[in-house]
């Protein structure tokens, strides 16, 4: 009896602890949203007067529009290129047996473990010695160096649970390489591809250390936020911060429902192939 009570107590403590930690993760974001509605130019708590003024200002500001546009373009291009590279990268990582695979697995993951600020500076050095002037295009390249390995990892997790017999069966039935890729491999791996793409987009959208050194004269949202934070408080910081959080949340919802739809579809394919 005593033993069981102890176990229940431990269980409850772990649940409470987990709730606290999750709260700890979200508190700062709530703080940012709160601050964006504060009327005062300098943040003070408790908030004396509330306003939507900073949002109105942000919606009409041309520089905010430029920032969002740059961030969006970079993130979209990073997503497209990363997913294409990582799709094949993940097949090599997890699907096929080949002699250099163990070495490849280790080397391809190295950039994830690399300090991003140093990677950004190294890339800046690399671009300028090659005579390339840094701009948002070079930032796309820089983000990919860090994001492609992450997407490879995410898609690989899907590839591991993929049954190669399905591909072989299609070959035996006379399908060509391209047909197998399009009809079997891609649909079955699509949940991994979608979540990889979503991660690629959001990690690029929020990236600061790499953008800081590789965007040249262009500026992304996180860079602008950092510059303002260091040089002094302006209410536009929490406002733009809240806006980017809101758009990320919308992206995630859309991604989640897209993923549900795709899962439904692949479930149908699996049912068909089981017949």
């Amino acid at each position: 009896m005593n033993e069981q009570r102890k176990r229940r107590l431990a269980r409850n403590l772990i649940v409470i602890w987990t709730t606290c930690v999750i709260g700890f993760l979200y508190i700062p974001m709530v703080a940012v949203v709160l601050a964006s509605f504060s009327k005062q130019r300098y943040f003070q708590f408790p908030i004396a007067a509330w306003t939507m003024r900073w949002y109105e200002k942000a919606s009409t500001s041309l520089s905010v529009r430029d920032l969002l546009w740059t961030s969006l373009t970079v993130a979209l291009l990073v997503t497209i290129f990363s997913v294409i590279l990582a799709f094949f990268g993940a097949l090599a990582f997890a699907r096929y047996e080949w002699s250099g695979r163990k070495l490849y697995q280790r080397l391809v993951l190295l950039p994830i473990f690399f300090p991003q600020a140093v990677l950004g500076l190294a890339l800046l050095l690399w671009f300028s010695s090659l005579g390339i002037i840094p701009s948002w295009q070079t930032a796309v390249f820089a983000h990919m160096v860090w994001i492609v390995p992450i997407v490879i990892l995410i898609i690989s997790i899907q590839v591991y649970s993929f049954d190669p017999a399905l591909e072989e069966a299609a070959f035996d039935l006379g399908a060509t390489r391209l047909q197998v890729l399009r009809e079997i491999t891609l649909p079955i791996l699509s949940p991994g591809i979608v979540s990889g793409g979503l991660f690629a987009f959001l990690l690029s959208w929020g990236n600061f250390p790499l953008s800081m050194f590789t965007t040249g004269a262009d500026q992304t949202v996180p860079e602008w936020l950092y510059a303002k934070m260091v040089s002094g408080y302006t209410p536009m910081v929490p406002t733009l911060g809240s806006l980017t959080m809101g758009s990320a949340a919308i992206m995630l919802l859309v991604g989640y429902f897209g993923w549900l739809a795709i899962r439904y579809k692949t479930a149908q394919i699996k049912v068909k192939s089981a017949d």
Binding site: W17, T18, Y96, P115, A117, P222, L225, V237, M245
Partner: protein, 289 residues
């Protein structure tokens, strides 16, 4: 075969073929810049070309200068953060692996979501909380008439930032490590008369070691090379090594010196990662179903 050559290339080695695009990209985007930084670290100070006579001058001057202070701070802050992270994450990871059941998915989602928001914004949230007249100080003053100013721009606030930002990178490896421990072994140990503490110490901890090592090393390396935490939450309290590297490259315009510091940081992290990867089978950890 009707398709001749092309199909025989595909058939020979699809794995190697699939590895080509990502490998070539990382060769240009990662190995190239890395090699260049290493090259620059042997060039004379304040030069902007790789075509000089190589020397060890920079390494000597970095050791002689006071850079060991920022290395020390980075190592100290990173180690502190790793220890705290382990203590914070272990019970939670245990819950996710063994107790929560279907709820573990929700917890996972709730922890991944903040990762997708720029680190800067989340750290700025802490600034608003810890600031003088900020959320914490302001509430305490309002409710209890006690002041808690002076929390921001201190060493503990940097550790808070590191723990906050890198928590998921400790948690998820721990979860996968702990779930690799078979329940049957614990039952067996218990049947043979082991106490709860002995089971933890002799069975659970050693068997979940791969996860603990990955989590510890990942968070250690990330903290070691971190830049934003010390700048946003630390103010001028402490200079970390990534900060020194940045100023060497930018303000001081001394590429060789920045390169030496980078090489030393990379070397330190590289040795740690290499030791880790030698002992661990990635297929087993990532592909575990």
């Amino acid at each position: 075969m009707a398709t001749g050559n092309k199909s025989s290339i595909w058939r020979i080695n699809p794995g190697r073929l699939a590895a080509i695009p990502a490998s070539v990209f990382l060769l240009i985007g990662f190995a190239g810049p890395l090699a260049m930084v290493i090259g620059y670290s042997f060039m004379p100070a304040h030069t902007f070309s790789l075509l000089q006579v190589p020397s060890l001058e920079n390494y000597v001057s970095v050791v002689a200068d006071s850079y060991y202070i920022s290395f020390f701070w980075s190592l100290f802050l990173a180690s502190t953060a790793v220890v705290i992270l382990f203590l914070v994450c272990y019970p939670m990871a245990y819950g996710m692996a063994k107790i929560f059941g279907p709820w573990a998915n929700l917890v996972t989602a709730l922890i991944i979501l903040p990762l997708l928001i720029s680190e800067n914004i989340r750290l700025f949230g802490w600034v608003l909380i810890l600031l003088k007249n900020g959320i914490l100080d302001g509430s305490l003053k309002y409710l209890f008439d006690v002041s808690a100013s002076g929390l921001l721009y201190t060493v503990p606030s940097i550790v808070l930032g590191l723990v906050y930002v890198y928590l998921p990178f400790m948690l998820f490896p721990l979860v996968s490590g702990i779930s690799m421990v078979p329940e049957s072994l614990k039952d067996a140990a218990s049947d043979l008369g082991a106490s709860r503490w002995e089971i933890f110490w002799e069975v659970e901890l050693p068997l979940s070691m791969p996860g603990i090592m990955i989590g510890g090393i990942l968070t250690f390396i990330l903290s070691l090379g971190s830049l934003a935490e010390a700048k946003i939450l630390g103010g001028q309290a402490v200079v970390m090594i990534a900060d020194d590297i940045e100023s060497a490259f930018t303000f001081a315009q001394n590429w060789p010196k920045g390169s030496v510091l980078s090489v030393m940081l990379i070397g330190l992290s590289g040795v740690v990662v290499f030791l880790l990867f030698r002992r661990i089978d990635l297929d087993q950890i990532i592909g575990r179903r």
